[in-house]
Symmetry: C2
């Protein structure tokens, strides 16, 4: 089974920006960016929201072309579409990840 | 008379991305970026939509902190909040403007 993803040509700047315009989805992308070579499971984002909530946000990111979701047995392996996004919108993902990481940092330090 | 604007501290990455996640608003920002030293009037964007439509989109950009709108008599002078955005989200505005300009270019060449 595989989930639908937009092709590279179907990814639009407006859709990517709307998908990223949410604090939970920015946090998911920032976490994926920490180790891009290793896909993550939905269950690893449960500090950000309920399972239903995370599934919703992950679907929004997939439908906009920001992430790949690969179904592997009962798991879903999530990774950034780094190559596509860098090709289509040079510098965009890096600037957003850098800003999202800076925003998340003070909250983590309060623990 | 002056219109409400968020302070620099009130501007959030999520709000900026949502505001920019619209083709008309991306086109407005791309046009403002062509000559940032010269504020533009709503009337200069009428190739992008009706007066009501442009007023709506300009208000969305102002409320998110992407642009300044200065009331001057019966006109509204619009400019990018370049300094605030570059300070808060380094590289973001430039990457979005570059991508938005590239998207707009092929359409213009078809004329």
């Amino acid at each position: 089974m595989s989930l639908p993803h937009p092709t590279t040509e179907q990814i639009t700047l407006a859709n990517v920006l709307v998908a990223l315009g949410d604090p939970t989805r920015l946090a998911i992308v920032a976490q994926l960016a920490r180790d891009e070579a290793t896909p993550m499971r939905c269950g690893q984002f449960l500090d950000l929201g309920s399972k239903t909530n995370i599934s919703y946000h992950v679907a929004k990111l997939r439908e906009a072309g920001v992430i790949y979701t690969e179904v592997s047995g009962t798991s879903r392996l999530i990774s950034l579409r780094r190559e596509d996004l860098d090709k289509l919108f040079p510098g965009l993902l890096d600037s957003i990840i850098a800003s999202a990481a800076e925003i998340a940092l003070p909250i983590a330090l309060e623990d």
